[in-house]
Amino acid sequence: MAGAADLDVAYVARLARINLSKEEAKAFQKQLGDVLNYVEKLRQADVSHVEAAAHALPIFNVFREDEPRDWFTAEEALSNAPRKTNDLFIVPKVVE
């Protein structure tokens, strides 16, 4: 298992799209380092004959008919938008 020393909080925060202050990054580096050291104990478990479990239930491939149904109107879907115009979400310019 990779150790706590491998964790670069500033880099992972960029992957997660969260800006961090220097102070916050430093605090997280220590705190998450402690957590990663703690989870090292999983190395002791013998998992050589175990299949990974995505969840605890033996159910797979739940299908439904692909049929239209009533759901939000555009107005409802936009009702919580921080910025909107003409039934659209407004965001900063993506392409120059």
Binding site: A27, I59, A81, R83
Partner: protein
């Protein structure tokens, strides 16, 4: 009975009064509102109330329905149409739900009235409700202590007679642990038993909605309303739902109760240990056979949980990006700046920590070492329970190793806070059902602090857990105790 005494009633007793027309549903709402005004300034259980709508619904309530006219509090991570749903986070400030969660639709169909939203750790991430970005919730038994978490607002409201019952959500113990620390009943259904549709997702393979109540019977009544298959949740089980109240009143003859040795550990508080040992003897005197059992992978549960839950959270919380709802950072230069600053400013420290940890354990080069390995150990934990349930009907343990701790006491050390869930987490990993119910008090610095007893049951064996819990509860007086703040509340 005066209106002032109404909030002390259980749901079952309230219904008797309503059906005999000794009290109207509207009077019930009024009495509840008065109680909330009297105590919630100090406790801080509620984030929002919708009394006007509740009164309207009360006036039209069909009292013949299973929960007709019964007002219920809802953890503020479950969508209730036209009400806020803050998830205890700045990032959802101003958001109003545009639909009802499946459980809310079911509660309404059963006649219940969702009238207020309760405080929680931000996005249900925490064990003390201190991670709420909105406000502090205090334990009704000692206002200098936490109510537990993450469903701390729901637990505190029920404990202070400021709710007849409440919904919470339990991802690693977030119903059972606050129930234990606040001295109420908290029930976590089998994974898939209750629809998660409309529950804001934290860790989708672990989250379950369940009730917090004053009595075991009340929890069974709420479960009768909310359990069942929902095509809008692909992990919902298509299984028959029995009447959970039907087996209540049976004794414990023929029941085999397992005491897992890994749950009776040294670092558990001595008063908690003593209370659990007394409860085990009590169960035995009620007819249950007590069996020593072992769940050998227990010690890995917290580690597995903090890998899997954070991994799932890092994906689930990607939707909070400032585009479609909630908080948005101002004057963003471009999209990356919008995402990065919205999430920096909108999320609290614990949520950021977990998203970063979850992103890390899923990232290239680390996935096998952390995420895949944790999934395999999860399967070992599930198998532990499956094997033990061949031998016993249910397991008995403390819910929390300690009674309520002081506000601020653990907030600085995330790992110490994570270990508060040591007895509850494995049940979520294994997908089984469980309950916490009051089983005594610890004396701490002149305060009586509730102690919770946990019972864990086989998948879909909720009815038996209710039966065992009810038999124990009715043989004790613990559920009748009320915190000092309730007795101090002005009476007419």
């Amino acid at each position: 009975m005066t209106e002032k005494d109404l909030p002390a009633l259980s749901i079952a007793d309230l219904q008797s009064l309503l059906r005999r027309k000794e009290v109207s549903a509207r009077e019930v709402i009024n009495a509840l509102q008065e109680r909330i005004e009297a105590v919630d300034g100090e406790i801080g259980a509620y984030l929002s109330l919708d009394v006007d709508t509740a009164i309207k619904e009360a006036e039209e309530a069909d009292l013949d329905l299973p929960l007709g006219g019964v007002p219920l509090a809802i953890k503020d991570i479950i969508n209730v149409m036209d009400q806020p749903c803050t998830c205890g986070s700045k990032i959802l400030q101003g958001y109003r739900a545009t639909y009802d969660a499946a459980v809310i639709r079911r509660l309404r169909a059963a006649g219940a009235i969702p009238f207020g939203k309760t405080n929680l750790d931000e996005f249900a991430m925490g064990s003390s409700t201190e991670n709420s970005a909105v406000k502090v919730t205090r334990n009704p038994w000692d206002l200098s202590r936490v109510p537990g978490g993450s469903s701390g607002g729901s637990a505190a409201a029920v404990a202070a007679d400021a709710a007849f019952g409440a919904l919470g959500s339990d991802t690693g113990g977030s119903i059972r642990q606050p129930a234990a620390l606040s001295g109420v009943v908290g029930f976590k259904p089998t994974y898939g038993r209750v629809s998660r549709f409309g529950l804001v997702a934290f860790a989708s393979s672990l989250d379950q909605i369940g009730p917090l109540t004053k009595t075991v019977r009340d929890a069974a009544l709420i479960m009768n309303a909310i359990a069942g298959h929902d095509p809008q949740d692909s992990t919902s089980l298509n299984e028959r739902v029995p009447d959970y109240a039907a087996k209540l009143g049976k004794d414990l003859r023929g029941i085999r109760l397992g005491v897992p040795k890994e749950y009776m550990i040294e670092r558990t508080d001595s008063q908690v240990k003593a209370a659990i040992n007394t409860a085990v003897k009590q169960m035995n005197s009620l007819g249950a056979e007590i069996v020593d059992v072992s769940l050998s992978h227990t010690d890995y549960a917290v580690a597995v949980y903090y890998i899997l839950a954070t991994a799932e959270a890092s994906a689930n919380l990607a939707r909070f990006d400032g585009v479609r709802y909630g908080y948005r950072a101002e004057n963003a230069r471009d999209m990356l700046d919008l995402y990065g600053r919205t999430r920096e400013e909108g999320f609290g420290a614990e949520v950021k920590r977990r998203i970063i940890l979850g992103t890390y354990v899923l990232s290239s080069g680390y996935y096998d070492a952390y995420y895949l390995r944790a999934q395999k150990v999860r399967e070992l934990i599930r198998q532990d329970f499956a094997k033990v349930f061949d031998k016993v009907d249910a397991l008995i343990s403390p819910t929390s190793p300690v009674p309520a701790f002081k506000l601020g006491e653990r907030a600085a050390d995330p790992l110490q806070m994570y270990l508060a869930d040591i007895f509850t987490i494995a049940a979520n990993l294994a997908g089984i059902c469980g309950i916490s119910l009051p089983c005594g008090f610890a004396d701490m610095e002149g305060h009586r602090l509730p102690i919770g007893l946990q019972l864990l049951g086989k998948p879909l064996d909720e009815a038996r857990i209710f039966q065992i819990a009810h038999a124990y509860e009715q043989s004790t007086d613990w559920h009748k105790a009320r915190p000092p703040i309730v007795n101090a509340a002005p009476k007419a």
